[in-house]
Amino acid sequence: MTEKTSDIKIVKEPEGLKGEGFFATRLDQVLALARANSIWPLPFATSCCGIEFMATMGSNYDLARFGSEKLSFSPRQADLLMVMGTIAKKMGPVLKQTYIQMAEPRWVIAVGACASSGGIFDTYSVLQGIDKVIPVDVYVPGCPPRPEQILDGFMKIQDIVKNESLRRRSLPEYKELLNQYGIE
């Protein structure tokens, strides 16, 4: 028997007991594996960073390599909210609404200086960072960040997803975090 060689990379299996015809491992590890490699992002693209996201999605950088071939434009089916671009105060409630509409588990990534902190727009009309209205998992700096940086941020999210405990979302600490933002 010769082992088939291929240049297609597949993710490594988690630790477990292996034998002929069976493989036993922990449920949370299997779930983490599946979740981390099939994240459906919801691109909340408002401005310049959205154009860089288009490049990230495009053929040169190809976000699909990380299991995100499918962009979910509906918040109901999305796992990851990618906020790219300036969020003005007028947009704040819309963003929050979108976040609330997403089903658990959900993650948020703030792409670019504007989404992270308001960036160069320290003005009366711009929200000074989206963490004023929703909790954020990963911040990607840059104005706009290069596609590589967005990919790096995305891989950080994959790490978080992989290592998240199964019970996190039902812990009182998590409830408290959401309550801080006035959600539920």
Partner: protein
């Protein structure tokens, strides 16, 4: 005969008479200062006049000059004649107490949003405008942010220490 700034100015002068306050010709654009009540008359005249044919309204915007007593605000129109390739800047000063000026929406559909923007930023009221309300800012905003007395930064935020930003 090509239409030059001089001819254009004399035509505007003939039409407006005393309502033409002053005029300058700098950086290639003739700029006329007129009394605010005649703004639409002049735009219409420029539009209809066969020799001028200024039928493109490039821009409407406002400006705030708090130091000019009695004419703190200004509405600025940029008109353009494609046929003669000549531009004209029309400036209408307005006093703070009476920020009303006639709307150009009857003449140019494109004036709609530009006037709404000027209202949003400066509080200039365009009479006869079909839908004069805020356009860029939130409806709840209770001041006109582009006026010079209002600061650029949001005053309610707590996250940034002014000392660190040299303010």
């Amino acid at each position: 005969m090509a239409l030059t700034s001089d001819i254009l100015l004399s035509k505007v002068k003939d039409f407006l008479g005393e309502d033409l306050i002053s005029s300058t010709d700098t950086f290639g654009i003739l700029s006329v200062n007129i009394s605010a009540s005649r703004n639409i008359d002049l735009l219409e005249f420029l539009h209809k006049d066969a020799a001028i044919q200024m039928n493109f309204l490039t821009d409407i915007t406002g400006a705030h000059y708090p130091d000019r007593k009695g004419q703190e605000f200004e509405v600025i129109y940029h008109a353009h004649s494609f046929v003669n390739n000549i531009r004209l800047r029309i400036k209408c000063p307005l006093p703070l107490e009476n920020l009303e000026i006639k709307s150009a929406t009857s003449l140019y559909s494109g004036a709609n949003w530009m006037e709404r923007e000027a209202y949003d930023f400066f509080g200039i009221i365009f009479t006869g405008h079909p839908n004069l309300k805020r356009i860029l800012n939130v409806d709840e905003m209770d001041y006109f942010p582009m006026r010079k007395e209002y600061p650029l930064e949001d005053q309610t935020r707590t996250d940034k220490e002014d000392d660190y930003f040299g303010r």
